[in-house]
Symmetry: C2
């Protein structure tokens, strides 16, 4: 069977179509058009052979590969193929079996563009960037966050005390690490209680609004219980490892809490980094905005992770643009994280602007004089960047920053 | 900082450790030991720099890369790093940030071996192969399944009628396609009602036990409602797109229904097919067995999907072995699917044996005389394979099989 019935360069996508852009390479012996058509078939109504059960209505619901050039194909999907408000169903269609097809040697889902009516079936962020800024009463600078380190193994008391030092030193936000949930050495409830108590103390001491992002990642019922526990304990945020938790539970949690959701993307690179099969971080980010997380890890550019500046900027644009296909939804606050330290802040702000949370773990707790000094150094670096004072000059009069620069240097 | 503190070739894994095997390639300028240690660090207690907050207890909780040879590293993780019964937390640790680290040019998680105490914190399959065989009262042959085709676009009535023909023709199982959930043209409840009604009729007609696998994939609350709807309507199975739904919701659904769970793996190849970043299907399969699905797609070998025979056999072994690390849990029934037809059945049974569901979509509904004849041809092919009658000889006296062979040939 030829898949060419699923290719039509004359087709002009309807305003209600969902558009997917893939990079692809056909397997040996497969024509470009058959490969492109095969993707459209398998991700919509078709299969490997013509079936006797196909009706005229079904033929009209085919996805159409309307743009095929070199290794890029754009496919238009009639909206009725998709269940409104169901991310899992969307992915099972356009990012499902297609990756396994033997007619392809490579397939990367680079972008999905959504029509208005589909976007409307999702909630989007409850708070977004503006809502978060109101909560913190900080309008003119990035937020500074830290991840408690070591990642795992501290007791609840130790965890809370280190959080306290980070807040007092100048962090706005303290979060759990992605693999810390509810282990014996640091039970969830005890950690939340102790950390929130010291958060309130830090707020009194500094006069600043602080946030603790408790990682509620768990099987659904337990996760919801943890969310409710944070709410009752007076917590102001939750954190979820959105990809290891999965879309179905994430969508549901979004409906059941008013707390801002911090989305950690652990495991994304198992899908986003490959050059042969997978999808872009931009696609994952758009799904997160549809569902309605308020903060999303988008890459640190200058740190220990591999993503290029361009990739990160594309992801950031997707979740913050007011003019793209998701522009009617609130903006998700990007989080830059992974191997950051005071010496990268100036450059990072130049690249990403003010609407970002800059998170440092090792770059704070690895400061020669410990966590509080490390947090101070980060705030000092941020202050210098915002006021456009050269970092080294500012360090002359700011001891913590000077020590941080001595240890880690400045990113040019 | 050197990651070498996380490497110790003298370390002998404890019986309580979780063991992960990775294939990896260091980035340019990074030593093999630093890369191996870096994986162990980032997936346990470490980060890119030594932190002032590390305690002796934490140091003792480090993961240890104890086997490093060529591009293979085996890492032992102390069990206390992990929350019992929480797959999301496990993945956020051993399959989280590591894939994004810039010290690596490639990272594939090939296997996870679980200690008894960890396995005990999961439910495993409720029914397993033996339970399913009892339900069907079929003990001596593979089960034959079909996916209603076209994938999407039929009305609920059309869907049910095609299912009926498949059952009457000889299919044991009829399932929804992975991207069919609850769309306007075929609403979930109507489909379940109509299809189950005709399933009962087919059971009366054939005297055989039949199953309908309704795809309940949705945001969690809605998914649970659909499961309960199937239960009340007298359905005997549910189907979930486990990867697009995600681990958190899947674990929870397993707790809330007694129906066997058919696990479709749409999207797996976005993680499992890449040669540079991702994880093996074997790992995903083991997680599915831990959680407790009863049937899992493991690859068709001879069809339209790309996996090699070896990959499929490894996956099948992981979910059916009574002697591996998951041997105390019930066996998951493997599902061979994707581009199959009568002419592959003999060879498939030779490779996979009797404990398998053989599913054909296009290979049934694409039969020149339609669905019922297609299902008959599949059962005839299966009968020939089990009775070791040469397929072509059997086809001489079985018209449907003859026509199928004429159209699609026989896989040698």
């Amino acid at each position: 069977m030829s898949y060419k019935e699923y290719v039509s360069r004359d087709y002009k996508p309807a305003r209600t179509d969902i558009i997917c852009e893939f990079n692809f390479k056909p397997a040996k012996g497969v024509s470009v058009l058959d490969a492109a058509g095969g993707i459209a078939a398998e991700s919509s109504v078709g299969t490997w052979d013509k079936v006797m059960t196909e009706t005229k209505k079904v033929s009209n619901m085919r996805a159409i590969a309307y743009y095929v050039r070199k290794n890029i194909v754009r496919i238009a999907y009639p909206l009725e193929l998709f269940e409104p408000g169901n991310i899992s169903q969307l992915l099972s269609s356009v990012a499902g079996n297609v990756f396994g097809m033997d007619i392809l040697n490579s397939l990367l889902l680079k972008d999905i563009i959504f029509p208005k009516n589909y976007v409307k079936s999702f909630k989007g962020p409850r708070h977004g960037i503006n809502g978060l800024r109101k909560k913190f009463k900080i309008y003119d600078r990035p937020l500074i966050g830290t991840i408690i380190k070591p990642k795992i193994g501290l007791s609840s008391s130790q965890h809370a005390k280190i959080a306290f030092k980070a807040w007092v030193g100048g962090c706005d936000i303290v979060k759990d690490d992605e693999n810390l949930t509810n282990q014996d050495f640091n039970p969830f409830k005890l950690r939340v209680n102790k950390t929130l108590a010291l958060m309130r103390k830090a707020e009194q001491l500094t006069g600043e609004k602080k946030a603790y992002l408790a990682n509620v990642t768990a099987p659904y019922d337990e996760m919801l219980k943890r969310v409710k526990y944070v709410e009752k304990a007076g917590g102001t945020h939750i954190m979820i490892d959105v990809l290891t938790v999965g879309w179905s539970a994430l969508q549901e949690i979004r409906k059941h809490t008013k707390l801002p959701i911090h989305a950690h993307r652990a495991m994304h690179a198992a899908m986003t980094r490959s050059e042969d099969f997978g999808m872009s971080m931009k696609v994952i980010a758009k799904l997160c905005r549809l569902i309605g997380v308020d903060q999303l890890h988008t890459g640190g550019i200058l740190g220990k992770m591999s993503e290029s500046k361009n990739e990160v900027l594309e992801t950031v644009e997707a979740i913050t643009s007011k003019k793209n296909d998701l522009g009617m939804l609130k903006q998700v606050m990007p989080v830059a994280s992974g191997g950051l330290y005071p010496g990268v802040v100036e450059k990072l702000v130049k690249i990403l602007g003010k609407d970002v949370i800059i998170q440092a773990g090792g770059g704070i707790h690895g400061h020669p004089r410990g966590t509080e000094a490390g947090a101070k150094a980060m705030r000092q670096a941020l202050h210098a960047a915002i006021e456009r004072i050269p970092l080294k000059r500012y360090a002359e009069t700011h001891e913590e920053l000077k020590e941080a620069i001595k240890k880690w240097g400045v990113k040019k």
